[in-house]
């Protein structure tokens, strides 16, 4: 029996660009317990709804997190639209899905890169980030921004994507896909990668359900749940949507699920572009939400289900805006996966759960 020691992990740590602090209780090389401490990024932006009116707040919502920025602005806008009973034009819904799926591709590839970095495969990290730049190019061409897009408004979207640009998106994605599949081979077939990921950080289906994990991390533990299959917005128009699941529950499974989701997103975008209806891209929203009106909304963010809640008070300012982000659901699963692992695997496990701290703390 060795002596127990506590190794602090973070808040400034090379594998994770974000400040997360963990106290790792270790005995020899085994982690007995991981105690997370968060609170480094808390800004208190939910309270800003009291000083920004409901139309303005879109830009604040977008800055909840820079990786799934588009998803948050969309989620917020849809919540307020529900609150006020606004019907969003079909074309706007399609455009939102295209941008949202593009964000998912960029977020997943970004994460794959960071995961590669965590298990010490730096050239793979660089390749992933090189590929990701292509998606950012699409953003820059269609919205003007690279990470913060500012294209959503309450009632629709601000910009249209014309036919030439739609074709450009298809071309880029086609090229991306070919190269992406090569990279996936490295992630899924390489023996040294497998040595670091297979059987590491196991989370059982019961644990995943019991700890209410969401997103690709739950799906990797065989929880068949994806908000997109509820068919909210233009997702309802998809000819077929099946959540991608795996039953292994280890780091490898989490990686596999996410690699396959990129391809799925490319397919969704293709279908959306082929079926894109004509028409207006926004409706004017006037007035204020009724006093006491409430609404809620779920969106499948790259990291899982995100829940939004809004309550009006008869003025232009919302009474309350609340959200529950995927990482706050998944942190519990992370501590379970960390307990009993080797110290050297801590990086890989944390990265495959991919905590997004700025979403969680806001």
């Amino acid at each position: 029996m060795g002596k127990q020691t506590i190794i602090p992990f973070g808040p400034q740590h090379p594998v994770l660009p974000e400040p997360l602090h963990l106290d790792l209780v270790v005995e020899d090389e085994k982690v007995i317990e991981a105690i997370p401490q968060i609170g480094f990024v808390h800004r208190g932006l939910e309270k800003l709804v009291e000083t920004r009116d409901y139309q303005q707040f879109v830009y604040v919502a977008e800055r909840i997190c820079g990786i799934c920025a588009f998803g948050h602005s969309m989620g917020y806008a849809e919540t307020v639209e529900r609150l006020m009973g606004v019907e969003v034009p079909e074309r706007a819904q399609y455009l939102r899905v295209i941008w949202h799926e593009l964000s998912r591709i960029h977020s997943h590839i970004l994460w794959l890169g960071l995961a590669a970095d965590a298990f010490g495969y730096e050239s793979l990290f660089m390749h992933c980030w090189r590929l990701r730049e292509r998606v950012l190019d699409i953003f820059q061409k269609t919205c003007g921004g690279r990470v913060i897009l500012s294209v959503v408004k309450v009632g629709g979207v601000v910009r249209d994507i014309d036919v030439a640009q739609l074709k450009y998106i298809l071309d880029v994605l086609e090229g991306l896909r070919a190269e992406y599949e090569q990279i996936c081979r490295a992630f899924l077939k390489d023996t040294s990668v497998k040595n670091r990921t297979v059987g590491v950080g196991y989370i059982s289906t019961e644990d995943a359900l019991g700890l209410s994990m969401v997103g690709p991390f739950a799906r990797a533990s065989n929880v068949d749940y994806d908000v997109r299959s509820l068919g909210i917005g233009a997702y309802g128009q998809l000819s077929d949507f099946q959540p991608i699941v795996s039953s292994d529950g280890d780091c490898y499974a989490r990686m596999e699920v996410r690699t396959r989701e990129v391809v799925q997103s490319i397919e969704i975008i293709k279908e959306m572009i082929l079926r894109m209806p004509q028409g207006p891209i926004a409706v004017d929203v006037k007035g204020a939400p009724a006093d006491g009106a409430e609404s809620s909304m779920v969106v499948e963010q790259p990291r899982g289900e995100c829940y939004y809640y809004a309550r009006g008070n008869g003025t232009k300012y919302l009474d309350r805006m609340r959200m529950r982000t995927p990482t706050s659901q998944n942190l519990a699963g992370m501590t379970v996966a960390l307990a009993g692992c080797d110290l050297a695997d801590v990086n890989t496990i944390i990265l495959t759960i991919d905590p997004c701290i700025s979403c969680t703390e806001r």
């Binding site: 800003l48 909840i64 090189r130 730049e133």
Partner: protein
């Protein structure tokens, strides 16, 4: 100290940024912009770093961390505030848990505005930071000489 200004190593800390600026800082280090070709390398160790890139604003919780990283860095050192949050607090300036820009805790040498700050801007700021680094190392040398006399 001339080697430091030719290939400065950077360290990155995320204050309370929304991640937008962090991923742009990383993007600047990756193939699309590839500042590594200028010898700029990202390090996790404050003692190896010459330039401190801070993203996001300061709050009570991370104040001490930023201070600690800054103190651990060896002179001469340069601080670059990346993104409007780090410069002034940005759109979150009136949040209850935001104290303001990074300059409310440590001295900042170069400000790189933008929300999110684009990689070109970061490269620009680092280049300016290198000039500051040169000046600081000259001043340091002079001081040492005078002390030796």
């Amino acid at each position: 100290m001339a080697f430091a200004s030719k290939s400065p190593w950077v360290i990155h800390y995320d204050g309370s940024s929304c991640n937008g600026c962090d991923i742009e800082v990383l993007a600047a280090l990756c193939p699309g912009y590839d500042v590594e070709r200028f010898g700029i390398i990202n390090t996790g160790n404050p003692k190896h770093a010459d330039i401190f890139l801070v993203t996001g604003s300061v709050n009570e919780q991370n104040k001490a961390v930023i201070r600690e990283i800054y103190d651990q860095m060896v002179e001469p050192k340069v601080v670059v505030a990346c993104g409007i949050c780090a410069c002034t607090g940005g759109i979150f300036h009136d949040c209850y848990n935001v104290l303001g820009g990074v300059d409310s805790v440590i001295p900042v040498d170069v400000y790189a505005p933008g929300c999110a700050v684009c990689p070109e801007n970061i490269i620009d700021a680092v280049v300016q930071g290198v000039a500051v680094l040169d000046e600081k190392s000259k001043a340091l040398k002079k001081k040492r000489k005078e002390a030796a006399l």
